[in-house]
């Protein structure tokens, strides 16, 4: 880890925000190319070609992939033998703000007191950097490094996301069917297909949502588990297709994290119906 300075942390985090917001990961781009090769519907191909061209332009010009630049979510994986530099978390917070300023992120921080923020009646800050980051997730991992991942989360997928208990009757199929049904309903309405689904299955609403975030951080478009493949395949049978125009690819991939479970007749599922640029993620190691 070395003796990294406060300013170096800010710089590295800011760069991570910009990379997450402007760049497809290599596995994500490969998944789109595979999907384009499989599509026969000309309208579906038009959408996918547009998404790939948009990604190329965004990467080359360092422009946001989507104008809804999203809410920054940060996961820190702290190596058991690593030592946090002094003022690491304030530096991360500053780095996120600096990244939003450079991007520039959409200035959509809602200002005012509790009621004014809920009603949006006092308006928005004009500064990109005033979009506050979500609470940091901290994980214990092996090793002597600190790995920080930034995930930018836009609003459409939140509109079609859900976290709720399912009475599972101690059956895997019941949980699987619930995930597929939720996803079918959400995918039909989202408008930014093809989607990348992220699921967490946990003991509480908070834990399930945290697991879904973990799924977005670790999910790999190249390596899909049997559970992930089954969800993708079943939702793709709906034929919603890119942008809802019809086609084979409504879901590009599914990322699932199953956490510890409660001795009970219910499971808590959290779904993020990730849009066609999700997951906008990038990492830095200290």
């Amino acid at each position: 880890m070395g003796n990294i300075t406060y300013e170096e942390i800010i710089e590295k985090v800011a760069d991570t925000v910009v990379r997450a917001s402007t760049t497809f990961t290599p596995d994500q781009e490969r998944a789109y190319r595979v999907c384009l090769a499989k599509e026969t519907d000309p309208n579906a191909c038009w959408v996918i070609e547009g998404l790939l061209e948009n990604a190329k332009q965004a990467k080359e010009m360092k422009l946001p992939l989507c104008d809804d630049t999203g809410i920054p979510h940060v996961v820190i994986e702290l190596g058991s033998e690593a030592q946090l530099p002094m003022a690491f978390l304030p530096a991360v917070e500053k780095g996120i703000a600096e990244g939003l300023r450079r991007l520039p992120g959409r200035p959509m921080g809602v200002v005012g007191n509790d009621v004014e923020r809920i009603t949006q009646s006092a308006g928005l800050s004009a500064r990109s950097e005033d979009v506050a980051m979500a609470p940091i997730q901290l994980k214990n991992v092996a090793g002597d490094k600190i790995r920080l991942t930034v995930i930018m989360m836009g609003g459409g997928p939140e509109l079609r996301g859900k976290t709720l208990r399912v009475f599972h009757k101690h059956s895997f199929e019941v949980v699987m069917d619930a995930m597929v049904e939720w996803a079918k309903d959400a995918v039909a309405k989202l408008g930014c297909q093809p989607v990348t689904l992220a699921f967490g299955v946990g003991r509480s609403n908070l834990e399930a949502a945290s697991l879904a975030l973990d799924a977005m951080k670790d999910g790999n478009f190249d390596v899909q588990s049997e559970i992930e493949k089954e969800i993708t395949d079943r939702v793709n049978q709906t034929g919603v297709g890119p942008l809802g125009l019809g086609g084979r690819t409504s879901v590009l991939a599914t990322f699932v994290k199953v956490g510890p479970q409660r001795a009970s007749g219910f499971r808590v599922i959290s779904l993020r119906t990730g849009c066609c640029v999700d997951p906008r993620r990038a990492s830095a190691t200290f």
């Binding site: 959408v47 332009q57 989507c66 200035p107 928005l124 039909a188 309405k189 942008l243 849009c275 066609c276």
Partner: protein, 171 residues
């Protein structure tokens, strides 16, 4: 098909679902916060007070900011509920993304308007915008009612003349 604003009833009549269009000219942009205010102006017959002409207009459901432009979900309550009154006011093309209800499909048909969708390809769409100005309600910031000048803005017709591309997948 190339469409130049203001859009004529004849152009709308000739379009059908799945048609690809490219829009050139001045279009309006608005979303959740401002569209209900535009509807209110129309209902109170005060659009001209603000210098707004909605006859033959295109309304793009987007914010306008330093991060660019791109479609937001048109099925959000405040946006979808603006489609009927704004079509009555003369808007011919509502541009956004996401499926809309049968009620909205009928409202569009009754008023000779259509709904078109465009992918959230903000880096490309923003490059097609030549000018922008706030047309009304500047206090809404990125959600103000904007007038944009666009060139060959790409979209696909999703709802027209009572038919919707979304209804097969929601059946």
């Amino acid at each position: 098909m190339d469409i130049t604003t203001p859009v004529s009833p004849e152009q709308i009549h000739s379009l059908k679902i799945y048609d690809k269009i490219r829009i050139t000219g001045n279009i309006y942009a608005g979303r959740d916060a401002v569209l209900p205010k535009i509807v209110k102006l129309y209902e109170e017959n005060r659009l001209t007070e603000k210098g707004l002409t909605l006859q033959g207009a295109v309304v793009f459901h987007t914010a306008v900011s330093v991060a660019g432009i791109g479609p937001t979900s048109s099925n959000k309550l405040e946006i979808e509920s603006s489609i009927l009154p704004l079509s009555e006011a003369g808007v011919k093309i509502h541009l956004g993304k996401g499926s809309l209800s049968r009620q909205t499909v009928e409202a569009l048909k009754k008023n000779g308007a259509i709904f078109a969708v465009t992918p959230p390809i903000s880096a490309l769409l923003t490059a097609k915008m030549r000018k922008q100005r706030v047309a009304a309600f500047p206090e809404e910031g990125i959600e103000a009612f904007y007038e944009l000048e666009v060139v060959e803005f790409p979209a696909i017709v999703a709802i027209a003349h009572g038919r919707s591309i979304f209804e097969k997948s929601e059946a």
